[in-house]
Amino acid sequence: MSSGFHIVVCGSLVPDPLQTLEPIQGPQGPALKNEAMLPVILDPWAGHALYEAAHLAKNNSGSKVWLVSLGPKAKLQQLMMTIAQKAPFELVVLDGPASGFVDAFEVAQALASAIEKIPGLDKTKLLLFGGCASASRDAGVTVQMVGERLGISNQFLAVDKLEVQGDGSLKILERIEGGQYQISRCAGAPAVFAWATGNLPEPPNNPQVGMMNMRTIMPALQKAQPVQISTNDISFSNVEVPKQLRKTRVVKDVPVDQIAREIVEWIKG
């Protein structure tokens, strides 16, 4: 029914969650110790957005997907070795920090102006995708800010489902309080979707998709422009790893009845 969507996914890299993070004071404010050396992954919720974008594009002919990433170019290049095999997209790179401590306002400004410059992007067909929050800043604000800068007033946060209806309208399920969904109908593009987990498993690696993507990924990385993101507005007085170790009492070789009684008393207490 539709003549396709222009889906722009905003997503970058974050440290692998199994890494231990230690804060240090860098020249631009707080940073992570050995940040450049930490193994990275695609920010998980942005990843879900990318897979949902690829799926939507596949089912709506004439659609196209871009992935717009702000991060250190060399690290993005590493990340692309795996991500490029997951879904077809064209990469737009902004060479800059991917730290959690940079301000979302500035990041959104940089992303929006990069999106404005994408050749051939038709804003009337635009679906702006991203994660509902990052694993670094965990603010849940960037995608909406990019949307606002692009003048889009139909926005959805923590989306788990997006369905194109027979009449071309969009039906959206957003997570709200108490494990409920809000169901909305949006007349059509342009619109903004900050994704939660969605409904798709991580796609398997497909080397053919990887080869096809790499044709545009390498030039995009080469021509990536450095962007300045400042944190001047923020004065951090403290960043620390909280004390988190508890003195765990391990209860072993104790009859089930006794354990159950202890648990019930604790619950009721």
Binding site: G179, Q182, S235, V251, I259, I263
Partner: protein, 342 residues
């Protein structure tokens, strides 16, 4: 001097949600510490009940944006309401309860008003006349305290930080602002609400106890077989007796897409952790869950923790819980249910 605006929306029944009443307490305390007064801004279909709930808060003025168009949680209309209220109050600091509705719209409003926004605010203090906030980075791994120079500064305050405002004392008059919606604001229509696939309501943010089920519940047990039906019965029995909120590990909720045995009432909405939620409950009981770091970061705001796992060397044993019971959760929870019944 700061001009503080407390901004809240009402729910469908016309009342303010709990987190909004907590943020109202914050507004009173912070304004006092900043030696300034604060203004209330309310949004919703009908603001009468909320007017009563905010009585005696010490606010100097109250403005409202009211009407059928504002009864729904929708970016296009909410942003106009928020913009009108912030401009009217001439606010420099805007305290907002972290609800899904305001989490959607406030970031855009901050851009529109050329301000800045911080979410998941877990602490606010005034030091030497300067406002400082606390929030977490890298999904509850690092905690930081900072201030900002740019105004207006929007702060989305998480629940569980401030006591609930009790609404006693004198009320002040509310001035209703007129906000016109253009046709384009109606491109989105809210159709209703839905529970995820299951018919059982298992997520209860206000519960005293979080009960987490891990993938062990659907794994092969000592007899070499899986027992998903038994697991379902035990877990649902426990939830109905305790009214606990049900959380899950990622592995358990991922199983449905991987074709493995599943617990029918579980969905990704139950998932706690790195790519799930970080709920706040006084107590948490983990069962059949290994307690790996990407899961346990979601337990940051669970005060008392206990875990039941067959493996004495599971993640919980590494200082992540107060008590680890090395035992079979099927047996333990069956007995717990019996005791709760008697």
């Amino acid at each position: 001097m700061e001009t503080v605006l407390y901004l809240a929306h009402v729910q469908h029944d016309g009342t303010l949600p709990r987190v909004a009443l907590e943020t109202l307490t914050a507004a009173g305390e912070i304004s006092k510490n900043l030696s300034t007064s604060f203004v209330i801004g309310l949004v919703g279909g009908d603001l009468k009940k909320a007017e009563a709930q905010v009585r005696g808060s010490g606010a100097s003025k109250m403005f409202g944006v009211q009407g059928e168009e504002f009864s729904h949680s929708r970016y296009s209309s909410d942003i106009l309401a928020v913009e009108a209220l912030v401009r009217k109050a001439n606010a420099t600091v805007i305290l907002v309860p972290a609800t899904s509705r305001f989490a959607r719209v406030l970031p855009g409003a901050a851009v529109r008003l050329n301000g800045r926004i911080d979410t998941h605010v877990s602490g606010i203090k005034v030091t030497g006349g300067k406002l400082e906030i606390q929030r977490w980075y890298y999904r509850q791994r690092l905690v930081s305290t900072f201030s900002r120079a740019v105004r207006p500064w929007f702060l989305l305050v998480d629940s569980g930080i401030f006591p609930t405002w009790e609404g006693k004392g004198a009320s002040i008059p509310m001035e209703i602002l007129k906000v016109d919606l253009s046709d384009s604001a109606n491109k989105t229509e809210v159709l209703g609400f839905e529970s995820p696939s299951s018919s059982t309501q298992t997520i209860r943010p206000d519960a005293k106890l979080l009960f987490v089920a891990g993938a062990g519940w659907t794994k092969k047990q000592g007899d070499g077989k899986t027992h998903p039906k038994e697991a379902e019965a035990i877990i649902l029995g426990f939830l109905s007796k305790t009214q606990a909120s049900l959380g899950s590990s990622k592995s358990l909720v991922d199983q449905s897409s991987e074709g493995e045995p599943v617990l029918g009432f579980m969905s990704h909405l139950n998932q706690v952790g790195q790519t799930g939620s970080t709920p706040r409950h006084p107590k948490g009981l983990s069962t059949c869950c290994h307690g790996e770091e990407p899961h346990v970061v979601g337990w940051r705001f669970i005060n008392e923790r206990r875990a039941v796992n067959l493996d004495p060397n599971c993640g919980w044993a590494q200082g992540k819980t107060d008590v680890l019971y090395v035992a079979d959760a099927f047996q333990v929870m069956t007995k717990v249910n019996e005791l709760l019944n008697s």
